[in-house]
Symmetry: C2
Subunit: 457 residues, 2 copies
């Protein structure tokens, strides 16, 4: 009887063990999760090891960052430090200067599996794609698809050129548009307040074919716009977030529409943009400013060909590594018809704007721009503003240097004169990390609540 018991006991154990064996076997060799990984495993494990480092939610480590004793080191958000970024520096300034779009970083951390990409050592070593171009056809297709979904631009009847960020495409467009036979250099203009880079870049390249000539409005009433003019139109505008139209008209006027911010998270999309030359960038769409990727939609074939030549002359096309990564990012944002990223990004930007507005509504000394609610064809409803930047004004006549007023409150903004505007204005960036925004809001609250005769709710 005892032996019989033992035999029964063994058989139960055996069956259990066999079931466990089966479980392991399936996990190891049959299940999708562990199937057939070989040469890629090391790279995947390296990336996960770096990502698993805790930086207290105030930083992250990178594969190409510093390693100490074989361990990755956290790179902390501004004003945070220590080995795990948990130490806040109380006296650190709230830096709202740059347009670094880190507000989208959490979105990509939440989409780790779908947005990761493994680049093989032999990926796209050639100078050219199989169609002999420098442009991935798959990526071009996805760019067109994404505009259709975002409903922010017409791509039909347009050629596409890629550039290393919209930065490069701005200059490529100026070169392409000024290379029409003309005795005098094309005059390049923009409407105040304008993004300073238009002037700095155009001046820098010092081509005999073009010259930056300042404000658009000084050319508006000139009846004789017979010479080539290139007008930069930034919509929504950087710094003030207003939707803009071209000011100049006529056969010798050409426009470059900089639509870096024309996405549902920064503005209502009243209608798909349908201009001759439009420039976009992933920096302000997915937040990948470091990848340096932008594209231009171009109606005129000759202009398109000239922009291609610029890209050849400048760098023989955009890095294939960057094109591969951008394709992956676009595939992720295309999932679910773009709802996920635009919902995330709009909610973040809208909430920041509301908080900022509430704080400044109590102030008599400071104001921010007014952007009217508008119907958005993407969200299919009237929606309030959610701009990338606040265009803050010091209302007192004596506050002639508003950025110094803010600096005294430990806030760094970009002074109005940088945008060829009055220094009563300062641009405050709202699209940096949550830490950056929280500190900015905290400092503004303190500044406003310290005003004499501050409004009460």
């Amino acid at each position: 009887m005892e032996k019989f018991q033992r035999s029964k006991y063994y058989s139960v154990c055996l069956v259990s063990s066999i079931i466990l064996n089966l479980f392991f076997f399936i996990n190891l060799y049959v299940g999708d999760k562990w199937k057939e990984l070989s040469w890629s495993h090391r790279a995947a494990a390296e990336a996960e090891a770096v990502a698993s480092l805790s930086c207290s939610g105030h930083g992250r480590a990178y594969l190409d960052g510093l390693f100490l004793d074989g361990k990755p080191v956290c790179e902390c958000n501004t004003c945070f430090g220590g080995p795990d970024c948990s130490e806040f520096s109380p006296g650190c300034p709230a830096d709202a200067n740059s347009g670094d779009p880190l507000f989208l970083e959490p979105f990509w951390m939440q989409h780790a599996a779908s947005s990761a990409i493994l680049v093989a050592g032999w990926h796209r070593m050639s100078y050219i794609f199989s169609d002999h171009s420098y442009i991935s056809q798959e990526l071009e297709k996805h760019v067109r698809k994404f505009h259709a979904i975002a409903r922010n631009a017409v791509t039909a009847g347009r050629y596409i050129v890629f550039g290393s960020g919209s930065t490069q495409l701005l200059n490529a467009a100026v070169y392409a548009l000024s290379q029409e036979n003309s005795s005098s250099p094309a005059r390049v203009v923009a409407s105040i307040p304008y993004y300073p880079f238009y002037k700095i870049q155009t001046d820098y390249f010092r081509s005999v074919d073009f010259e930056f000539q300042g404000d658009t409005s000084s050319w508006k009433n000139t009846s004789d716009v017979s010479e080539n003019v290139i007008e930069f139109v930034t919509s929504p505008n950087n710094p003030d977030g207003q939707l803009k139209k071209a000011v100049l008209q006529g056969p010798s006027v050409k426009t470059i529409h900089d639509h870096a911010y024309y996405w549902p998270h920064f503005t209502a999309i009243p209608t798909p943009a349908d201009e001759d030359l439009m420039i976009f960038t992933i920096s302000k769409l997915t937040g990948h400013a470091g990848s340096r990727f932008g594209w231009a939609l171009i109606k005129n074939e000759a202009v398109y060909q000239r922009m291609l030549v610029y890209m050849s002359m400048s760098e023989m096309g955009v890095s294939r590594d960057t094109q591969l990564r951008t394709l992956k990012l676009l595939k992720v944002v295309l999932e679910g018809e773009g709802r996920e990223i635009f919902d995330f990004a709009f909610k973040t930007m809208r909430s920041r704007w509301e908080k900022l507005s509430q704080t400044l509504s109590m102030s008599k000394r400071f104001s921010i721009q007014n952007i009217a609610p508008q119907y958005c064809t993407f969200f299919q409803k009237v929606r309030g503003p959610s701009p990338a930047f606040a265009w803050l004004k010091c209302e007192k006549e004596e506050d002639k240097d508003c950025s110094t007023v803010l600096r005294a409150a430990n806030i760094i903004g970009r002074e109005g004169s940088m945008f060829t505007a009055d220094n009563h204005y300062v641009r405050l960036s709202l699209l940096k990390s949550q830490d950056d925004f929280d500190l900015l809001l905290h400092r503004l609250n303190k500044l406003v609540s310290g005003e004499d005769g501050v409004k009460t709710m």
Copy 2:
């Protein structure tokens, strides 16, 4: 007794099963190979699926290539076709035109595990690195380390600027060197035969600060080189593989040393290059032309600062994705002190040159350049030539258009006039894929063996 037997039998099975369970458990959860992969698995599996497609050794599929019914499609080498690239097109020309460095592709396929990189969705989204620059300090360190190992350039006392390929850095250097206060534009020159891009690019940008002025030698005997002159020195030279020194001298002469080919696989390294401004590229080092990555070593701080400004104006620095990948590639080639890649690349290029030399030694109609064997500080021995290009000459006076002679034999080369040289010359690329080289050699053999009175061994 029977029950005792059964019990014994069960216990043996149970022990075996438990051992098997242990094996599975270790493989699944403890062993390094399967440890802790989660979010990265999908990307790794996608890359392996694409890489596993057989393209008969005459092609490969890419992650961003075409997919049909969810399956990747082979991209075939020139002259090969069919779903698995197994079909050779007999009438297809041997294309030896471009300098596409695909001869290194097999090296990277052999180093799949160590050269793969997994890029997380949130990798380096910011415009800047933590030191507020556009340049990865880790990558800069590795570039310096690699020059020390290759013994081809002195990096001590040099600043480093990254560019999107040496292409971009050539122009950055011309801008930087011409921006010294001068009443007239800097004259940009190069020695015939020279890489056509120097002229095309300098002409294209049409800056008021510089002008391409052709051949260096026409300035050599001018005693008054008082105006700014910028001399391009290409060493080894493209097209002819000769080591070169600057021709012009004097206080107003500046040089740009293009060292794209100054690596042990293309030339003996007699001594580390030690010039004021030197430009290198991974295109011709690792073969990753598609990644668009190069760097400049610069002695003068003001020139370095101006090249940084160029990179800001042009594109706000090189894509961080490209910098990450380049870092990984350099880590691989640094393993074993660079022996592996240089041995592989030198053997390949040397063997191609020997085969070509043998074929053409039988010809009275064609000759190729003579490059003397020389002591190489990297290989620490005297070694024969292994240039990237053959500079082929049609010896007959009447063969004034040598490229047409080759074209009749179904060979595509780049005509001498492209290099501002005589059209008795043609450049033939030797660094493309093995398929390209094999076809070129085959066609040349046929051409030579068809000559009247061909030399016999």
